[in-house]
Amino acid sequence: MNRMRYIYNAETCKYEPVIVSPKDAARRLVRFIGISFVLGVAALLYFNSRYPHIDETFQTQINKGLKAEWDVLNKQLDRTSAQLSALEHNDDHNYRVILDLEPLDQSQREAGVGGRAKASEGIYYPMVRQAYEQAEKLKNRLEIEAQSLQQLQDELARKEKIWASRPAIQPVSNKDLKQLHTLFGLRMHPLLGYVRPHNGLDFTAPQGAPIYATGDGSVAIAQYSETLGNMVFIDHGSGLQTRYGHMTKFIVYAGEKVKRGQVIGYVGNTGTSVGPHLHYEVLHNGTYLNPINFFQRDLNNKEYEKLIEIGSQSVISLD
């Protein structure tokens, strides 16, 4: 393609090949590059006038993406926070009410355990700072709630123990029970023949019928006495004691831990007694309470009425 070019020399009347001197070639090259460069600069100026800085565009794009991710993060934070709020509400309004504890207030919950350096300090970006603040608040609340739940758990365990120790069942099963003498208070003693207080209830049952501990506790006394015969005293804590008398024999020893429903002995006729029966007493801080209050709820109302009726009919107790 690169054909030789000629010019017509009028003086010599000849076609002479055009010889481009290196100087000329260089000049042309410079001209070409110069014009291209000017074109390039013009294009750049035009570009700059129309479009933002390239890296700026890039960063804006990245920024948009990041902000979308942060939105998700913030939503997740909100959701976790809302779920925690539900737990806290349950804690304050249900558990703490039932376990008789004061609810925690919000400032207490957000304050946290304290002594931690704040991660949000010195951060310029409000979005980041707020997220840190929220995350920190969340962390504090979580810690407080964990402590609170632990406290509730401990309190419940403590109370469960007390509830389990409360005398709450009949000491003799209904299937063995022949008669229940519900007369509590002053009455004529069948053997002594004068009025003296009857501090418990008498459960008439066949000799050898099992006697159950009515609540968890520890055996305070298990021995023979002139009046109560073979007897067992059980301490239930919180000032409560139950006493069981006239047993054929007891099968627990002083200091032994007993569970509700555990057989502690058998119905008998020992001590000042005129027939096989269990004499059962409930004491609170040394005061005799009517034991009927400590098992009545096992029976429905009609049954309970019947019980009272049977009891009130018996004029003479077996004690």
């Binding site: 294009a43 890296d55 980041v128 109370k159 509700r260």
Partner: protein, 323 residues
């Protein structure tokens, strides 16, 4: 330079005048453009490399901060979520221990799962929605005709007024909320011996000192104070007439006298935990002609149909009472 140029044509064996060539000129322009573009690209690259606009600088810094802290915060969040899951388990176990029953409304559901389920079978979902819609319309119609029948046939006359007035109709405590009803009427678990027994009232848990209200006008039948750690503790019975008697047990304070006349909603005492009770609560009974009725059926005023449904389902749970 302006000299005419010639080419030697080997075919014609003559020097021919160089023609004005479009291709040549086009090639020249393309050459300028290509090189111009190369320069443009190079300059743009350099400009990008050397010059940093304030906005770019700011964005760059922000992006760096955002991506760095996102990692840290995500880790924090994951940790928090683990703790939360742990707390939820503890909460659930506490609930089960307290009420001897499984929790019905788990606190805080995870929404994405639900959304996923909804989206997973859109057609079926739409179908069930439309079915539910139809069923709903049917129910509305039947309710309307029922209402119509009722309004045509039911007339409240003067002779019905004493019965209506005597019927207990409000929640028996101040600021009642549905979740405060913790144990209902029927066979429940006794908190002391964990056996089942007939619970003749409802238990409403509330902080000590909350006012207990008379649920209908009436006259105080019994006020009883008792230190005994079993039974009703301090309690009040109100005779509303027409065979209605209400009983309010385990009170801390009694603020009325026997024989006193009461208005509906009048404070009569405060919540306590006296008698055989394991927590501060009100044990509330409604008795009609000597028979204990489910008191939940008498929480009528200020409660919507939906709330009533919630209350009813809550009271039907065979859980532990507070006695």
């Amino acid at each position: 330079m302006a000299l005419t140029k010639f080419y030697y044509n080997p075919k014609t064996l003559r020097y021919e005048r160089a023609r004005f060539s479009v291709v040549r000129i086009a090639m020249g322009i393309v050459g300028y453009l290509v090189f111009g573009f190369v320069f443009f690209a190079a300059l743009l690259f350099l400009q990008n490399l050397i010059i940093e606009t304030p906005k770019e600088k700011q964005l760059r810094a922000e992006n760096r901060a955002l991506s760095e802290h996102k990692v840290i915060l995500s880790a924090l969040l994951t940790e928090s979520n683990h703790q939360l899951t742990d707390l939820k388990k503890k909460d659930l176990s506490l609930y089960q221990q307290l009420f001897e029953t499984a929790a019905a409304n788990t606190t805080g559901q995870v929404f994405p799962e639900r959304e996923e389920i909804l989206l997973s079978d859109k057609a079926e979902f739409n179908e069930s929605v439309s079915q539910l819609g139809n069923r709903f319309t049917e129910l509305i119609h039947s309710a309307q005709s029922g209402n119509n029948f009722f309004s045509l046939n039911a007339r409240v006359g003067r002779k019905d007024m004493p019965e209506l007035i005597a019927t207990p109709s409000i929640a028996p405590i101040q600021n009642f909320e549905l979740e405060k009803l913790v144990s209902g009427f029927g066979v429940r678990i006794n908190p002391f011996h964990k056996g089942k027994y007939q619970h003749d009232g409802v238990d409403i848990a509330a902080p000590r000192g909350t006012h207990v209200l008379a649920t209908a006008p009436g006259r105080v039948l019994i006020t009883k104070k008792s230190d005994l750690i079993a039974g009703y503790g301090n309690y009040i019975e109100i005779d509303h007439g027409n065979g209605y008697i209400t009983r309010y047990a385990h009170l801390e304070e009694i603020e009325v006298r026997t024989g006193q006349k009461l208005e509906k909603g009048q404070p009569i005492g405060t919540i306590g935990s006296t008698g055989g009770s394991i927590a501060p609560h009100l044990h509330y009974e409604v008795i009609k002609n000597g028979v204990s009725l489910d008191p939940v059926k008498f929480f009528m005023e200020g409660i919507s149909a939906n709330q009533y449904e919630v209350l009813l389902s809550q009271s039907k749970k065979q859980n532990q009472s507070l006695d």
